[in-house]
Amino acid sequence: MSDDIYREIILDHYRNPRNKGKLPDADVSIHDSNPLCGDEIDMHLKVDGSTIKDIKFEGRGCAISQASASMLTEMVLGKPLTSVKDLSKDDILENIGLTSLGPARIKCALLSLKVLKLGMVKYYSDRDPDSAKKLQDDSKGL
């Protein structure tokens, strides 16, 4: 089973994370952690109009949480910020190629998506509270 999880691509994103670091002129930054594991993720977003123009993450934790965050940043860079609301648990698990994770480890894989969705809501709640409320209600798995 571990052979299926700790594949080359997961280890590569764990050891050579993409889009990792600070984003000094970020429009929105958000932090969350997984109390079970202590995994931590910060997401920083630069938004141009409604598009994610730049995205960086910081964090520490297991290979699954960090690789998942790295892959997620690649997945959403250049996309409309509101498209984040439609990303589901399965989208993430398919993206990282881990569809058979147990309930404990699934939280590791999904932490970065949770943080990104919180970031999206925070971005709009500072600018357009009504649509932020709607985004929060519509957002899957928040």
Binding site: S2, D3, C62, A63, I64
Partner: protein
């Protein structure tokens, strides 16, 4: 049962039904998460079963036969606990839900009455959250301060720092663990208590990790309060024990108001019950307290010195084997006589949760994470560690499998 020499582990293992179960893929269970909770022998499971099957009843009130039998069995456990830790009397033994509740009881009852503005409570950097958070709550409520005894790089408490803390005349309580649940360090509580008592300061000992694994004698140690949990010593979950010296307990206000802790209740006033019932409001966890008696009998039959010796042997072997594995960082004292059966480590850049997942493939149950000791994790400058912890039913062969799984993790992560 044989009373001397090495444990007959094969025979002991027969008493634990869970050790015979197979995990996914037909793997044998190798249970190395004993610092979190231990497995239960059949005698404990049967005692709980027998209570529900034959004499389930509420205690202390009714006069019917079932109530008498249940009360007798419940109070018999209190006697066994008192004897096990050598308390002077059963009045000094209070049943709670767990060690956490026992410490909270002291913080809410004794703490509120005795700690005031600018007073200090001294704890250490190795503490479990259960011996940190209740004091933070009390300190913020009262405007008091929390002071930490630091830990050195090998996992020993800095006794000089402790001595300096005691120089302040504002210290109202010292509260320390007797054994670290992460580093395994056995803390010199005798010395800590001696120094504290010289200044007239009471000491609480968090014995959740020590009482299950070594002989602990409250009179010899001289502690004022001691907390531990049944489920870490073969007993059921949901039973904690608070020991308090009688002269202190007599002056403590009640913790939880309700039934069973009263003598008389009138419209605007209540006379509280005698010790220890004054501190046991509401129907207690009768079945599990009764089950706990069987756990104490089981450990008494083996003898706590033999339990300790077995764990020292296993720990010594585990440390020898693990230090031979490439990329391993080991935490805690190197001298096994200074530590309990707990081995915390990291390997390369493998996060403990990833390691635990790989271990699980081999049927090996270890713990990974911050072990409810985030203050210590910050001190060690790690986010988490992996932890293997042993008990009476573990074997050197199991440690070999554990080491084999470590090698497999190194292969997967190319370390």
């Amino acid at each position: 049962m044989q009373k001397h020499g090495a444990l007959d582990v094969d025979k002991i293992r027969e008493d634990f039904p869970i050790l015979r179960r197979k995990l996914e893929g037909g793997k044998a269970l190798i249970y190395l998460d004993n610092a979190a909770t231990t497995q239960k022998p059949l005698a404990v499971i049967n005692a709980i079963h027998d209570y529900y099957m034959n004499y389930n009843s509420n205690i202390h009130r009714a006069v019917h036969q079932l109530a008498e039998e249940a009360t007798l069995a419940f109070e018999k456990t209190r006697e066994k606990v008192a004897k096990f830790v050598n308390a002077r009397s059963v009045e000094e033994i209070i049943f709670t839900r767990n060690a956490t509740e026992a410490i909270n009881l002291v913080a809410y009852s004794w703490g509120r009455a005795n700690v005031g503005r600018d007073d200090k409570i001294v704890i250490s950097e190795i503490e479990h959250h259960s011996n940190i958070v209740p004091w933070q709550i009390l300190a913020s409520e009262k405007g008091a301060k929390l002071e930490y005894i630091g830990v050195d790089d090998e996992g020993y408490l800095k006794m000089k720092e402790y001595s300096t803390h005691l120089d302040s005349n504002r210290v109202k309580l010292v509260s320390v663990s007797q054994m670290s649940n992460v580093l395994g360090t056995i803390i010199p509580v005798d010395e800590i208590i001696r120094m504290s008592h010289e200044k007239g300061i009471p000491v609480l000992v968090d014995a959740a990790q020590s009482v299950p694994h070594m002989r602990v004698d409250v009179q010899q140690m001289g502690c004022d309060f001691m907390a531990f949990s049944a489920h870490k010593m073969l007993g059921p979950t949901g039973v904690g024990i608070l020991y308090v010296k009688k002269e202190i307990l007599e002056k403590m206000p009640p913790f939880m108001g309700g039934g069973d802790m009263i003598k008389e209740v009138h419209k605007y006033e209540t006379r509280y019950n005698d010790l220890p019932y004054k501190f046991e409001g509401g129907t207690p966890n009768i079945a599990d307290v009764i089950g706990f008696a069987a756990a104490i009998d089981y450990l008494e039959d083996i003898g706590m010195d033999r339990v300790r010796n077995h764990e020292v042997e296993l720990t010594k072997y585990a440390i020898e084997r693990i230090t031979g594995v490439k990329g391993v960082t080991l935490y805690g004292p190197r001298n096994v006589t200074d530590r309990g059966g707990v081995v915390s480590f990291n390997i390369g850049d493998i996060h403990p949760h990833d390691l635990a997942t790989i271990m699980n493939d081999h049927g090996v149950a270890i713990r990974s994470g911050h072990h409810c000791a985030q203050v210590l994790m910050e001190r060690l400058d790690v986010a988490a560690t992996s932890r293997a912890s042993f008990y009476i039913y573990n074997t050197k062969e199991e440690i070999d499998t554990f080491i084999g799984a470590l090698d497999e993790a190194r292969r997967l992560f190319k370390i």
